[in-house]
């Protein structure tokens, strides 16, 4: 029986990789021809991808897809958003239903190597953290010995939690819930002292508390969750385009080019800026795009910093600090190769 199952699984895997391979090499042309980027997003996650009251999507994952559309088609609005659940996200990409998966997907070894997919980069460095009630007076996760902790069932979150407490040699009492919203309810009703989840989630939950200032997110991050866009393996031209859209946004922030000053920056004498905005060199052509590809991204969507602040940063209800997501020059780890 096991042999049969594994044989079927192997057959399916071959089929998956085969299908992915067969899609190769022409996504960029397909997108140009279709006049639309097809982008897989969540079915609703604050700050990352979420429909507003008129059904327009917003969020950092959504803005990244818009940036790709701006670069490839010159118009950030030419994106078709396909809401996907966690389970169907990779199939949708493998089968060609979407061109980019931009759906809070953690970059892991297994996903990168065995699914026929390529991770483009990291749009958001996330990590599992803890949120405690302020009245508890705890300032570090190391003080949490014996605490009762609300956690979502069957997630890596649960496993990371167990690992962390084992390593620290501390005891804890898990209070397990089926869904993240219930976890938040449990925390608020005092079923547990501590709530653990990815940090971005913690901030979203905190913003929904009756009194958001009554809870604090502890500084410790106990796991690495680099979230980023994904494309099909075997289509290097498209992979390059999507990768350099992200790098262009990061470079723009580093060079101080924003959606507000892009007009005057196109007249700049700084050679780095000239190369980026396309007044010098043929960077766009090398990607198979127009010369003003990066200028379009910045003018229509903004640089990385703007995208971050607008959706998840201090300008948004989530109020997540830049932290790891600050540029390397400002204490974070967001670093992009130069446009040269």
């Amino acid at each position: 029986m096991t042999r049969f199952v594994s044989a079927v699984a192997a057959g399916l895997a071959t089929l998956v990789v085969g299908a992915a391979g067969a899609q190769a090499a022409e996504t960029l042309d397909t997108v140009k021809e279709r006049g639309e980027v097809s982008c897989g997003v969540t079915t609703g996650l604050a700050g990352f991808s979420m429909p507003d009251q008129s059904g327009t999507w917003s969020g950092i994952d959504v803005d990244f897809c818009r940036a790709v559309a701006a670069a490839v088609l010159g118009d950030a609005s030419k994106v078709r958003f396909v809401p996907l659940t966690a389970k169907e996200r990779f199939t949708a990409l493998q089968s060609g239903e979407i061109d980019i998966l931009s759906r809070v997907t953690t970059w892991t070894f297994t996903r990168d190597t065995s699914l026929g997919l390529n991770f483009v980069g990291t749009t958001f460095y996330d990590g599992q953290g803890f949120m405690v009630n302020k009245d508890l007076g705890v300032s570090s996760a190391k003080d949490l010995d014996g605490a009762s902790i609300c956690v979502g069932a069957g997630t890596t979150t649960e496993l990371n939690l167990a690992d962390y407490f084992r390593i620290q040699g501390m005891d804890y009492n898990p209070v397990v819930f089926a869904a993240i919203s219930e976890t938040a309810q449990g925390f608020e009703s005092g079923r547990c002292d501590v709530l653990t989840s990815d940090q971005s989630q913690l901030y979203a939950i905190r913003s929904k508390l009756e009194d958001p200032s009554s809870a604090v997110v502890l500084p410790e991050v106990i796991s690495k969750e680099p979230l980023g866009p994904v494309v099909r393996q075997g289509d290097d031209a498209w992979f390059n385009v999507v990768k350099w859209v992200l790098f262009a946004q990061l470079n723009a922030e580093e060079l101080g080019v924003t959606s507000d000053n892009i007009e005057e920056m196109t007249g700049s004498d700084n050679p780095s800026i000239k190369r980026l905005v396309g007044t010098d060199g043929d960077m766009g052509e090398k990607l198979g795009l127009s010369a003003d590809w990066a200028a379009n991204i910045i003018a229509q969507v903004g640089n990385y910093g703007e995208m971050f602040e607008r959706n998840v940063g201090m300008d948004s209800p989530l109020e997540i600090a830049r932290g790891l997501n600050a540029l390397w020059s400002e204490g974070g780890i967001q670093y992009a190769p130069p446009v040269r």
Binding site: L12, L15, V16, A19, A22, Q23, T43, G44, L45, A46, G47, M50, P51, D52, Q53, S54, G55, R80, V82, P83, L84, T85, K87, E88, T91, A92, Q94, S95, G96, E97, S181, A204, S207, K208, E210, S316, P317, L318
Partner: protein
């Protein structure tokens, strides 16, 4: 008193005294309460417990939902009270009803709703001419789905094409359940007849179909349709997600429907078949004129039960990333700009489902009464 003779003998005539009203302890709410609520010590205790629970729950609910709720405004700041924030529902109502359907084209969805109402409402009005009702019903089962499909999808007659990815909310729920209901009933009837057929090939095919689809949960059917199917199709062939889901739902429901109807067919006495044969009717005519009308009438509760279950099952399309009304509610309540509105959202979704399911249930009761011809035991 009209019978009282007015002749001179009136004095001798027997005049009955008007009956006295029964004592107040024997009629009215008091008597009813004594009979039903306080008839034994156990019942007294249960009644008191029940009243206590009502007293505990109802005032709180009314206070939350109506008295201290906020109805007007446009943002979270307009919901300062402790009660429900219906402002959120009102603000997002368009999204809950139309999903991502473009603003300028929403009149097409409105036309769909109006036509649906025009088909359904007369069925509930007893005074409406029976012939009109029949024609409306036939229109609803045949032309209406086609017209609506063309209207919603567009691409013809100068209407802009709206991909199904943009459908959502209440509209998607209705599309899914209406198509499911309208298609599952005839397929179910055919399957039920096929399963009772004396032709081995047809019987085997029907049995296999029914048992296969009935043996798997709907959620896995949808999952196969949305996740596995695209992998098996050749490259470039990528047919619509909504269509895949619809086919899955119709297959699944018709298998259930077939079994409900088979129950009705088995309840028909053999004499009916023999009488039909004796009249010289062939298989199709005896089935259509004698057997099915009786069998379907018998299983109305079962059929409507299946419909109601189907209506609620449509929410399962959530797992394949289609936004039915519950999906739109869930996507909207994560908005951090609105704070804690999850309860309001879910109450609203539950209310919508209740309205439709209760409507179906009342309709089936009315239908049973109308078709009641004394066969009931």
């Amino acid at each position: 008193m009209a019978q009282t003779p007015t002749t001179g003998a009136a004095a001798e005539t027997f005049r009955p005294i008007a009956p006295r009203p029964p004592p107040s302890s024997a009629v009215g709410p008091l008597r009813w309460a004594r009979d039903n609520l306080f008839s034994s010590p156990l019942n007294v205790i249960l009644t008191l417990i029940g009243l206590y629970l009502v007293w505990l729950i109802v005032p709180g609910v009314i206070d939350w939902a109506i008295l201290s709720a906020d109805f007007t405004g446009s943002t979270r700041d307009d919901c300062p009270s402790d009660g429900a924030c219906w402002v959120f529902i009102l603000q997002r109502l368009d999204f809950f009803i139309y999903g991502f359907y473009p603003d300028a084209e929403r009149w097409r969805v409105d036309v769909m709703f109006l036509m649906l109402a025009a088909v359904l409402v007369p069925q509930f009005i007893p005074g409406f001419p029976a012939r009109g009702r029949t024609w409306l019903g036939i229109f609803g089962l045949t032309l209406y789905p086609v017209i609506t499909g063309v209207l919603l999808l567009g691409g013809l007659f100068g209407l802009p094409f709206i991909e199904t990815g943009k459908w959502g909310g209440l509209m998607l729920t209705l599309v899914l359940s209406y198509v499911g209901i309208v298609a599952a009933l005839p397929i179910g009837i055919l399957l039920a007849l096929g399963r009772r057929s004396s032709m081995p090939v047809i019987r085997t095919i029907c049995v296999i179909f029914i048992e296969l689809w009935r043996g798997v949960p709907l959620i896995s059917v949808l999952f196969m349709a949305s996740v596995m199917l695209p992998l098996f199709l050749p490259e470039g062939v990528n047919f619509d997600k909504l269509l895949r889901a619809l086919i899955g739902i119709v297959m699944f429901q018709s298998a259930y429907m077939a079994e409900v109807i088979r129950g009705g067919l088995q309840g028909i006495p053999k004499g009916q078949y023999e009488a039909a044969s004796a009249l010289g009717l062939g298989y199709w005519r005896s089935t259509a004129l004698i057997i099915l009308p009786q069998a379907l009438k018998m299983v109305i509760p079962g059929i409507v039960n299946t419909f109601i279950a189907l209506f609620k099952d449509t929410t399962l399309v959530l797992i394949i990333g289609l936004f039915d009304i519950l999906g739109t509610v869930q996507a909207a309540i994560v908005d951090p700009a609105w704070g804690r509105v999850a309860v309001e959202g879910y109450v609203f979704a539950a209310f919508c489902f209740w309205v439709f399911c209760f409507g179906m249930s009342r309709y089936s009761q009315g239908l049973e009464k109308k078709l009641h011809t004394g066969h009931k035991r």
